[in-house]
Structures are given as structure tokens and as C-alpha cells.
């Protein structure tokens, strides 16, 4: 109990908790769950964008997209590393993902149907991710906070890139502009859902807030995102697909229409358009690569033996 009090005092004093420090088991569990989910999201998130690398419409875009997807893999790797400081191995986390026991962001269960989706993902999905992640740069757990600082820097680069794709399309010909509007239509609501259920229904907020893992509520972050994004949509000349959207002079906020939480629930439950495809692909990749990992292990063993003999 003393330990617990001391721990909370450090949190309250905005001190960083480090891997070797004492921490409550629930704090550790919450962090492992959140960080690994976050890592899984980066890895699964490679798929919808990866779907357009071979079809990117210019070499510049192709290179930028490949680099972006590579960054996501990098984010996944250092997030797994951050989670490993809490005593759980990457393999274990990946197994949980493949077994369907660990979650990843529901947004990646939507398909990328046109090139404009690549713009929309950068602009909206990365934009929403950044809103979620900026406060995490001040998260009480040191390794996670430091990982997030790096992630956020790269994400905002991606976000600008995505917006620039949208801008190019919106200044392009009629077909391109239509493509951009269509992408906004399909991604807008799923992006609002990225912030999670409304505060009235959220489960994890309380403890996470006390531990300074979470610093804003879902609804607060969602509002921030909307306020930042709506003017950008207008600048692009696009229509946000929410007939109830209106600017509230008094609060200075954009007020949105009702979110279809039933859709969110279904996607979380595994029924999104691409859940099965994403998991199958990840599983297939693991399976196809098994012989390579085995060969690498066998070779490392041989090398070790050879060095021992040589020594």
C-alpha cells in the first residue's frame, strides 16, 4: 500500500515510471494491452495502404507510400520493444493477435478502394491517430512516452503528405475530385469512431486517467479532431458527409451528427468489411515465413557451435 501511494505520488508529480521501477500489476496490464494494441495497429495498418503501392500513380507517390508503410512497420517494432520492457515478449503479443485475442484499431478493417483512400488515410486516419497520440508523449510510462514522441513526429509528416495527396486530387480533373470526395465520404465516420465509444459508455478511462496514461476523454479528442479537420475539408472544397454538421459560435466547436455506434460495435466484433481478410493475411504471412525463421534459428545455432569450437 505504501508502494502504491509512492507510485501515485510520482505519477501526480509528472515523474516518468521506468521499466525497473515498481508498478501496480493493473498499471502494467493496462499498458501492455494498450501498447501492444497500438503495435498491432501499426502492423495491420500496413495492409490497407500496402494495397496501393504497386498501383501508385507516380514514382514520387510510390516511393512516399512505400516509405510510409515502412515507417508504420518501424513504429510497430518500437512499440513492441516498449511493451517488452514490461516483461512480455513480442512473439507472445503476435500470437495473441493471431489467436484473435488482441485487438487493433478498427479503422484498418475498412478497404482501400481508390487511390484517394491513400490520401484520406494520411489526412484523416493519421490525423486522428496524432490527436490520440500527442497526449501519450507525456504518458507516465517512460518507454511508451519516448516511443510516442518519435511516432508522432513521423505521423505528422504522413498526415501532411496525405493532405497534400488530397489537395492535388482536389485541384485535379473532375474524376480526381470525385475520387477525393468519395474517399472522404467513406472514411469520415469510421475516423470519428477511432476515438472510441462516447465518454458515457467508455470503460477504461477512469484508471487510465488517474495513472496519466490517458489525459483526455474520447469525446474531447474527437471534438479536437473535428475542429481541426472540418476547416481543412472546406479548404479542399470537399463536403463533410454529415448533414447535421454545424459550427457553434458560442462554444467555438463544430457539432456533429449522431455516430452509428452499431457499425463500430460490429467492426470491433470482427464483422468489419476486412477483419477476416486482414487476419487471414497476417496468419498466411506468418505461415509462409515459418521456414525462413526456422532456417535463421538453425543457422544461428550452427554459428554458435562453430564459435564455441573455435574458441
Amino acid at each position: 500500500a505504501d508502494k502504491l501511494r509512492a507510485f501515485q505520488e510520482r505519477i501526480d508529480a509528472e515523474e516518468r515510471i521506468e521499466p525497473n521501477d515498481w508498478m501496480p500489476e493493473a498499471y502494467r496490464r493496462t499498458l501492455v494491452r494498450q501498447i501492444s494494441q497500438h503495435a498491432h495497429s501499426e502492423i495491420i495498418g500496413m495492409q490497407p495502404e500496402g494495397n496501393w503501392i504497386t498501383r501508385a500513380p507516380s514514382l514520387r507517390r510510390k516511393a512516399a507510400l512505400l516509405a510510409k508503410v515502412q515507417d508504420e512497420c518501424g513504429h510497430g517494432l518500437y512499440l513492441y520493444a516498449a511493451a517488452e520492457t514490461l516483461g512480455v515478449a513480442r512473439e507472445e503479443m503476435v500470437d495473441q493477435l493471431l489467436a484473435g485475442k488482441a485487438k487493433y484499431s478498427s479503422i484498418f478493417n475498412y478497404p482501400t478502394l481508390t487511390w484517394a483512400d491513400i490520401g484520406a488515410i494520411g489526412w484523416l486516419v493519421d490525423g486522428a491517430a496524432i490527436m490520440n497520440q500527442i497526449p501519450l508523449c507525456r504518458c507516465s510510462y517512460g518507454p511508451y512516452a519516448r516511443a510516442m514522441i518519435r511516432v508522432c513526429k513521423e505521423e505528422s509528416f504522413h498526415q501532411r503528405q496525405g493532405y497534400e495527396i488530397m489537395l492535388t486530387l482536389c485541384r485535379g480533373n473532375a474524376a480526381q475530385k470525385e475520387m477525393a470526395q468519395d474517399a472522404l465520404n467513406r472514411w469520415w465516420w469510421p475516423c470519428l469512431m477511432m476515438f472510441g465509444p462516447p465518454d458515457s459508455a467508455s470503460q477504461h478511462t477512469d484508471a487510465s486517467t488517474k495513472w496519466k496514461i490517458k489525459r483526455f476523454t474520447n469525446d474531447e479528442l474527437r471534438q479536437k479532431f473535428i475542429d481541426a479537420t472540418v476547416p481543412q475539408a472546406h479548404y479542399l472544397g470537399l463536403t463533410v458527409p454529415d448533414p447535421e454538421l454545424r459550427y457553434d459560435e458560442a462554444s467555438g466547436h463544430w457539432q456533429h451528427g449522431a455516430i452509428d455506434w452499431e457499425e463500430f460495435k460490429q467492426v470491433i466484433a470482427g464483422n468489419g468489411p476486412c477483419n477476416a481478410q486482414r487476419m487471414e493475411r497476417r496468419r498466411q504471412t506468418e505461415e509462409d515465413g515459418a521456414w525462413v525463421r526456422e532456417a535463421a534459428r538453425a543457422f544461428a545455432e550452427k554459428e554458435k557451435r562453430r564459435h564455441r569450437v573455435a574458441a
Binding site: A63, V69, T168, T285
Partner: protein, 256 residues
């Protein structure tokens, strides 16, 4: 017609051939995205893909300058038909399994690394500058693919079998690396290009050294396939281009 017609001079053709090599191999590597056997390898494959796409862009841009018909990098990449592509048959071969991809990378990098090193002395300053960057990149590709080929060759029974099969499968496409023709000879004579024949020993030594560590043998030189430099490709390239070019062909003339 959404295709361009290239005004071929020896220099334009020479540069386009190298650009096509880099683009097609870079494209093949990018197809691995999200499918690599280990996550660290996602990073490495993307790195190599990015290097090659970068080389292609620099070379296409230079070809456009040399041609002076207003063609930019994307015109060459997206608006030439299969028969106008001039890459080596080796680089268009499908990825196959990870062993095949790594052996393909080794065979190419073991050539491209000394090639670009030699090209740093090209009498053409643009090519010399591109070479300086490309050489560093290809040295990494060579190291990385060699490490994997050794690991797979000297790993398990299964990985050894796959690596040997990949080597046998790709070997007939290596002869083309060292071909020269009228066009190339002109470039060699003028000091713009290096004679690939001078690179063959280095290439062989590198492979023997790597394959030896991989407990594999260099295949005997049998019949060698060729045709890529003249636009006579395998059936694989057309499918690659259908995907690569789809959007530019569908909405031609747009800015992306």
C-alpha cells in the same frame, strides 16, 4: 494512345535500360510489403525497394533531359508498353519464395555494386553522380542479400533446398548482365559507360565466396536467356506493368 514514343539515342537507351532495371526490381521488392517472413525484413525489403525506385527516378529524369522531348520520370515509367521496357530478364522474374527473392537480389547486387563503383568514373558527370549514391546503396543490398543466402543455404534442409532451387532457376538469366551491343559499345568507347565484361571476374568471385559460405555451388554455365535489353521479355513483365500503370492509363494526363 496513352503511350509515349521515345526518341532513342545511344545515351537515352543506355540510361533507360538501367532505369528500367532499377524500377522493375524495386517494384518486385515492393510487392513483399506486408508479407515478409520477419518484421525486421519488412524494413530491409522496403529499404532496398526505395533505393532502387530512387535510382530509377534519377535515371529516368536524366533520360528525359538527354532526350529533350519533355518526358519526365513518370512518362517513362507509366507510359511505355512492355516491348519498350529495356530491363534485364533477371529483375522481372516473379518474387517466388523468400529464397528466390534473396538469390535474385544477390545476383543483381553482386553485379550492380561493382558496376556503379566503376560508373563513378564515367565521363558523364550526371551518371557519375548517380553512381556515387547508387554504389553505396548496392553495397548494402549485396551485404544484406549475401547474409540471407548464407543463412538460408546453411540453415535447414528445407531452406537449403529452396535456395539451391532458386539459384538453378535464376542462373540462366545472369548471362544478360554481361552483354553488350552496338549501343553499349558506343557508350563504352566514349567513356560514358563501363564494359560489363570487366566486371565479370569480380561478380564471379563474390558469388563463389558467398555460395561457398552458403554450402552451395555456383551452377555450371549452361544456356543463357536474353532479350530484355531489346524488349523481348518473359510473360511476367506484362502483368507487372498492367498493375503498375493502371491508374495513369485510366486517367491519363492528370497530375497526381
Amino acid at each position: 494512345m496513352t503511350s509515349i514514343r521515345v526518341t532513342e539515342t545511344p545515351l537515352v537507351t543506355y540510361v533507360l535500360r538501367r532505369a528500367d532495371d532499377a524500377l522493375v526490381l524495386g517494384h518486385r521488392l515492393s510487392e513483399w510489403c506486408g508479407k515478409a517472413p520477419v518484421m525486421e525484413e519488412e524494413m530491409a525489403l522496403a529499404n532496398m525497394g526505395l533505393d532502387l525506385i530512387g535510382q530509377a527516378r534519377a535515371l529516368y529524369t536524366y533520360a528525359g533531359e538527354a532526350e529533350a522531348q519533355g518526358h519526365d520520370e513518370d512518362a517513362f515509367a507509366y507510359r511505355r508498353d512492355e516491348r519498350a521496357y529495356r530491363n534485364l530478364l533477371l529483375v522481372e522474374q516473379p518474387n517466388g519464395d523468400f529464397a528466390l527473392t534473396m538469390v535474385r537480389q544477390l545476383l543483381y547486387a553482386a553485379y550492380a555494386d561493382p558496376y556503379w563503383r566503376a560508373m563513378m568514373g564515367s565521363s558523364d558527370p550526371t551518371l557519375a553522380a548517380i553512381a556515387a549514391k547508387a554504389e553505396k546503396e548496392m553495397a548494402y543490398h549485396l551485404r544484406h542479400s549475401a547474409e540471407w543466402v548464407v543463412r538460408l543455404g546453411d540453415g535447414t534442409e528445407e531452406s537449403r533446398r529452396r535456395t539451391g532451387r532458386a539459384l538453378a532457376q535464376l542462373w540462366p538469366f545472369t548471362g544478360e548482365l554481361f552483354h553488350t551491343d552496338e549501343i553499349e559499345r558506343e557508350m563504352i568507347m566514349s567513356g560514358v559507360a563501363v564494359d560489363p565484361a570487366t566486371l565479370r571476374d569480380t561478380w564471379c568471385r563474390t558469388l563463389i565466396e558467398v555460395l561457398d559460405r552458403a554450402t552451395l555451388k555456383i551452377p555450371e554455365d549452361g544456356w543463357m536467356q536474353s532479350g530484355g535489353r531489346g524488349g523481348r521479355h518473359s510473360e511476367h513483365l506484362g502483368h507487372l506493368l498492367a498493375e503498375l500503370q493502371y491508374l495513369q492509363r485510366t486517367i491519363p494526363g492528370a497530375t497526381w
